[in-house]
């Protein structure tokens, strides 16, 4: 199987290289218009078919590696290092992306998959697709070269073949691990497609905004996958890392957030280009940056540039990615310099207070957030370079700098959609902002009355202030969005006499992009409420002998005993804790400690009980060395569930936005007779 897999990878590389060189030659022939022995169209078609075949070959390699994992083929180094016989089948499959070589193969396979779809749908815009397909082939050649020469997944184990493998990292033996990396990679890799179209359109001076229309769905799908990947990763971290949080501003987490931010900025600013022919250069650079940040993320993950809690897949691949990144940057800069005349804006922003301006500020804030994260992530390297010693840039830095930016972004989420295009009048502002402003102030007053004050025990707490501001802004944004829905629905009710729910459904169907976008905004706001809730987290740690109790919030936890278990994969030890509320036993939790047999590595499994008031998160930290009693840490995390609920809205909204809308209604309005102006009469041929 190893030989088959290696051959398939070599074949895939050869086919992708043919796609690149034949595609480039065909495009040069087309551009020059010179006659040749082989027609440019036929050459381009062979290149396209080679790209399709390359995907088939890389699929064969991926299947070979999966088969090797499932059949415990420990002659392959990668399988011996990342799997073992007792590992459950889904995790054996997940072992494909738990190590360096496998995850790069997954990347190459997904890239091939996206390319496969692109090359099959080439008939809509043949020349543009040929450019995009060739650029995509260049990226494929790089990744296939990496998995063939720098990180081969099928290299054979030297020496005696072990009876069993080392097993999978315990942190990765969690259900989300099976889906989190593929989702994240689908997002990262997906941005290669709009990048290829943008670069191709620029190279060929493609007229109009068609490339944006062609890539809109690709971009949205990639963005959705990246969002899903990030949030599922947060859920995984929350469940498995056992510290009660979901985001630690780790460099690898940051690496996933940066392309998400620029991708989000791109999704907003392309609206300006579609509607107004503005921000053409900006959009091109946004998508270039998104792609390059995806590669930078991989460089950070693989290259060992920065230390990370996710450091299970580092190596010396950094040089490969740095060279590739430098080449991509050079190609982008040179293409832009030579073709930038093609990107002149057709219109300009007329007023600082307008929808156009809000898009600009939205982009400004998103890119500032991206810069802050990039800056914080790379500052330790810069510090080492300048001062000779590394420093740590951790959560306190990011919390202090990024949280205000996030709050400002929340503010813009509410303001932007309420502003009219071109310029806003005071009257329009009053009309659109009255209700949201009332909601903001009502939430501030209600919040302070309910105990959400920015001070605690007489001391000022900036986290609580941020939370209060975030809740208030969230209320304002939700009010603004809901009033938009109601205003549109009322018009439909008047027109069709249907009920309000049917009107809302029809409203969404008529303009899926607009109202899908609003649903995504609702999701973001809901998730922000969940994030702001972290200011009210509480924790308690205690040593609990049998029948001892500890209290946290409305709950009381009582040690009801312990249990031990063993299976072929791990031994486990758990503490059974009865949870009381108001004197009544309401449920039981069983935080656990596992020791995985193959790797002899320990792992904490937190017990999480989610309720309407928040999550009760319980960790079994170990036993006291003197007394032998278990040490229990309990956290009460209010509003965490809102983050996951927000994701549901985001997914729903994006799917709505991806759905083609109904044709817009043709409004018939009776025009009053207007006396024709002399100039107009002249144009019509009057005398």
């Amino acid at each position: 199987m190893a030989a088959f897999g290696s051959f398939a990878l070599l074949l895939a590389l050869a086919l992708a290289a043919y796609n690149l060189f034949a595609g480039t030659a065909a495009l040069r022939l087309l551009a020059s218009g010179r006659p040749a022995r082989i027609s440019a169209d036929r050459l381009a078609d062979t290149a396209r078919r080679a790209g399709i075949a390359s995907f088939v070959a890389v699929t064969a390699a991926a299947v070979a590696l999966a088969w090797s994992a499932l059949t415990n083929d420990f002659t392959i180094t990668y399988i011996a290092e990342h799997s073992n016989r007792a590992l459950p089948a889904p995790y054996k499959f997940a072992a494909l992306w738990s190590g360096q070589e496998g995850s790069l193969l997954l990347w190459a396979w997904l890239l091939g998959g996206y390319g496969f779809i692109l090359r099959l749908t080439h008939e809509t815009e043949v020349k543009l697709y040929a450019y995009a397909g060739t650029i995509l082939a260049a990226v494929e050649v790089f990744f296939l070269a990496v998995v063939n020469f720098a990180a081969p997944p099928f290299s054979l184990l030297k020496g005696a073949i072990p009876d069993d493998g080392n097993g999978l990292n315990p942190l990765l033996q969690y259900p989300e691990m099976v889906i989190h990396p593929p989702l994240l990679y689908l997002g990262y890799v997906g941005f290669t497609i709009p990048f290829a179209f943008a670069l191709g359109a620029l190279m060929m001076r493609y007229p109009g905004e068609t490339w944006i229309k062609v890539t809109r769905r690709w971009t949205l799908v990639s963005w959705l996958f990246l969002t899903l990947g990030i949030v599922v990763g947060m859920h995984w971290a929350y469940g498995v890392l056992g510290w009660g949080g979901y985001w630690g501003w780790d460099p690898v987490e940051n690496a996933s957030l940066m392309p998400w931010l620029t991708g989000t900025a791109f999704l907003h600013s392309v609206v300006m280009q579609e509607r107004k022919g503005m921000m053409k250069s900006w959009n091109i650079w946004l998508i270039f940056a998104t792609f390059m940040l995806s590669i930078l993320g991989t460089l950070l993950t693989r290259g060992g540039l920065v230390s990370s809690v996710h450091a299970f897949a580092q190596s010396s691949l950094g040089t490969w990615f740095m060279v590739f990144l430098a080449i991509v940057l050079a190609v982008c800069v040179l293409t832009y310099i030579f073709k930038r005349n093609h990107l002149k804006s057709e219109q300009r922003i007329e007023s600082l207070v307008s929808r156009e301006s809000s898009f600009l500020f939205n982009n400004l804030v998103l890119l500032t957030a991206c810069f802050v994260i990039l800056w914080g992530t790379l500052f330790p390297i810069l510090s080492e370079f300048v001062e000779g010693s590394k420093i740590t840039v951790g959560a306190p830095f990011f919390d202090r700098v990024a949280v205000p930016i996030g709050i400002f972004l929340l503010f813009l989420t509410g303001v932007g959609p309420l502003l009219p295009w071109r310029a806003a009048s005071l009257q329009a502002i009053r009309r659109n902002f009255l209700l949201p402003a009332l909601a903001v102030w009502a939430t501030v007053i209600g919040g302070i009355t309910a105990g959400v004050q920015p001070w605690q025990d007489g001391a000022f707490d900036i986290g609580r202030l941020y939370a209060l501001v975030a809740f208030a802004l969230a209320a304002g944004v939700l009010t603004a969005i809901l009033s938009e829905f109601l205003r549109g629905a009322r018009v439909i009710v008047r027109q069709t006499s249907c009920n309000l729910f049917a009107a809302i459904y029809l409203l969404i169907r008529r303009n899926t992009r607009r109202y899908g976008g609003y649903c995504v905004h609702i999701g973001v706001v809901v998730a922000m409420i969940g994030l702001a809730g972290a200011a009210f987290n509480r924790s308690m740690e205690s040593e609990l002998a049998l029948h001892d109790r500890m209290g946290i919030g409305p709950y009381t936890l009582e040690n009801a005993g312990g249990s031990q278990d063993t299976n072929t994969n791990y031994n486990s030890e758990s503490v059974l804790l009865d949870v009381y509320r108001g004197g009544k036993r309401v449920f039981q939790v069983a935080p656990e400690r596992r020791t995985y047999l193959a790797s002899d590595q320990p792992q904490t499994m937190a017990a999480i009980h989610s309720g309407p008031g928040g999550d009760l998160y319980v960790i079994y930290e170990g036993t006291d060395s003197d007394t032998g009693h278990p040490i229990i840490k309990a956290l009460l995390n209010p509003l965490v569930g809102w983050i996951w609920t927000g994701l549901v809205f985001i997914v729903f909204g994006t799917l709505v936005a991806l759905t083609p809308g109904l044709r817009p209604i043709a409004a018939t309005v009776r025009m009053p007779a207007v006396r024709t102006a002399p100039a107009e009469a002249a144009l019509k041929g009057g005398d």
């Binding site: 890392l241 510290w243 949080g245 999704l267 990370s308 809690v309 450091a311 300009r348 922003i349 007329e350 007023s351 600082l352 207070v353 400004l364 500032t368 810069f371 800056w375 500052f379 510090s383 001062e387 010693s389 420093i391 740590t392 951790g394 959560a395 306190p396 830095f397 202090r400 205000p404 295009w421 806003a424 009048s425 605690q456 025990d457 001391a459 000022f460 900036i462 205003r487 549109g488 018009v491 439909i492 303009n511 992009r513 607009r514 609003y518 995504v520 924790s539 400690r593 320990p602 930290e621 170990g622 936005a657 809308g661 817009p664 209604i665 409004a667 309005v669 025009m671 009053p672 207007v674």
Partner: protein
């Protein structure tokens, strides 16, 4: 006729926001009861887990238990937060601090984001203002109540229409 908002009122609003942010950022918790928690979230664990001291949950991590005990003892001895952080940095190296300090080159870490944001914000405002000022003004149309009423009707009826979205 539409009355565009004046730039100065926006500038004042932004100044007010900047002031509020600056004041709030300059304030910190002074609650002694939470100092162990607070300081353990400003220090990194030295066991190599890349987590903050207060959050290290590595099984059998002796480093975090020892460091937390040191921290508690330092607070009990009456040291200020700054003195405790300096002591830890001197003992374990600068990487034990979870965030850059506000001295020397570390200060650049804090200044750069604010400077970049301020520069980008000012640049954007000036650019939009230049565009809006340089725009060719069309002659105002004569007022026509019928046309105005019609425009308002169209605006209302097409609010459910096709603009916007992503």
């Amino acid at each position: 006729m539409a009355t565009p908002l004046r730039f100065t009122s926006w500038a004042k609003a932004l100044q007010a926001i900047a002031l509020v942010v600056a004041v709030t950022l300059s304030m910190g918790t002074s609650n002694d009861s939470g100092r162990v928690y607070d300081l353990s979230h400003r220090l990194m664990c030295t066991c190599g887990c890349a987590q903050m001291l207060g959050e290290c949950n590595q099984m059998g991590c002796a480093e975090s238990a020892r460091a937390k005990a040191e921290l508690t003892a330092a607070i009990a001895s009456g040291k200020t937060d700054r003195q405790i952080l300096d002591t830890f940095a001197a003992k374990y190296g600068a990487t034990v601090l979870a965030a850059p300090t506000t001295k020397g080159f570390d200060l650049v870490a804090w200044i750069a984001p604010v400077a970049v944001f301020a520069a980008a914000l000012m640049g954007t405002i000036l650019l939009v203002r230049r565009w809006s000022v340089g725009r060719t003004q069309l002659p105002a149309e004569p007022a026509n109540p019928e046309i105005d009423a019609l425009r308002e009707q169209i605006r209302r009826e097409t609010e459910a229409g096709i603009e916007g979205g992503f």
